[in-house]
């Protein structure tokens, strides 16, 4: 259980850091832009 908690908190710090870094680099907008235009590959046009 202690090992689980240790790895959990290590990975949590990494995940939160990555999200914060990504947000500072404007990746939220990048994800939004892609998600709000029709993905031609997803629907099978290519």
């Amino acid at each position: 259980m202690k090992k689980r908690k240790f790895w959990f908190f290590c990975l949590l710090i990494i995940a939160v850091s990555l999200i914060v870094l990504g947000l500072f680099d404007g990746e939220f907008k990048t994800v939004w832009q892609k998600a709000s235009t029709i993905c031609l590959e997803c629907i099978g046009i290519g």
Partner: protein, 294 residues
């Protein structure tokens, strides 16, 4: 239907609607422009579904990787950290719990499996295919196979994902004449894959989750560390294998409660005759509360 199953089904239905709430866009046959589409949802729900109000993390990951080389050459810092971090956060909270409680494509598979037909077990070896799909179609090909400008393609979405074909392709083809007129070989290919999976779903339990789904594969890695966890009290376990017989992914929970295949549906907990299988959020537990478990 037992209480947990009823509760789970309710969650699945609410989530299917909750992740696809933009009905006006659906009625117009256009995709939603909701600001929430910048957030990665914890399930494989195609963001090109007209009503989707969140981003599919697997689609977002492939897009981040496929534009990585261009971004690096252009001196932009967008390296996909936000998507990778989001995936990590989802996995750390719940592991594969969203697969069985929230995923609309999981719900579809469960409903189709209810069709009374002879059932076929998926061989264990076939379940390893999901690692190959994740590594090749989601990570390596979008990252390495790029055009002259440095852009790759979302290979998984383009060539395989039946969820995208159903939720986005088929829906948009039905609702939008402009899109319908452009469909060709790729759509026929993807539609064939969708039909194969729909037929497979009728005879095997959750074939997509078990053999292909890259999101489930990623979240499965986190089953070992997630806050939500399964425990088995080995002192009470009589090795009757009732858990395996009811398990949609055919695992023996007492061998490894943190199995990367376990989708946390809690069916094993419900059927266990000695009540030795349990679940919980370890953040609430104290060390002294722990029985002898694995």
């Amino acid at each position: 239907m037992r209480k947990t199953e009823r509760k789970r089904r309710l969650f699945q239905i609410l989530a299917a609607f909750g992740f696809n709430l933009d009905f006006p866009s659906l009625a117009r046959g256009e995709i939603s422009q909701a600001k929430s589409k910048g957030i990665c949802v914890p399930v494989l729900n195609c963001y090109s579904c007209p009503a989707a109000i969140g981003a599919c993390p697997i689609g977002a990951l492939q897009n981040a990787l496929s534009s990585l080389r261009f971004n690096l050459e252009a001196g932009q810092k967008k390296l996909g950290f936000y998507v990778i971090g989001s995936l990590g956060l989802i996995g750390l909270a719940a592991g594969r719990l969203p697969c069985s409680w929230l995923c609309p494509f999981g719900l579809l598979q469960e409903l189709i499996y209810k069709i009374p037909l002879p059932k076929i077990q998926i061989p264990q070896k076939a379940t390893y295919l999901r690692y190959l799909v994740l590594l090749s179609l989601v990570i390596l090909l979008p990252l390495l196979l790029v055009d002259a400008l440095g852009f790759g393609a979302p290979w998984f979405c383009k060539w395989l994902c039946p969820a995208g074909t159903l939720e986005a392709g088929v829906l948009l083809a039905l609702l939008n004449p402009g899109i319908r007129s452009q469909l060709g070989f790729l759509f026929a290919w993807k539609l064939s894959i969708l039909i194969i999976f729909l037929l497979w779903m009728a005879v095997s339990e959750r074939p997509f989750c078990r053999t292909i789904c890259p999101l489930g594969t990623i979240l499965g890695f986190f089953n070992r560390v997630s806050v939500f966890r399964m425990t088995v009290n080995l002192n009470n376990c009589i090795l009757c294998d009732a858990c395996q017989r009811t398990c949609p992914v055919n695992i023996k929970i007492y061998k490894n409660p943190d199995s990367s295949q376990c989708i946390r549906c809690l069916k094993c907990e419900t059927v266990c005759p000695t009540s030795c299988v349990a679940h919980g959020w370890w953040i609430k537990e104290r060390e002294s509360d722990q029985p002898e478990t694995i």
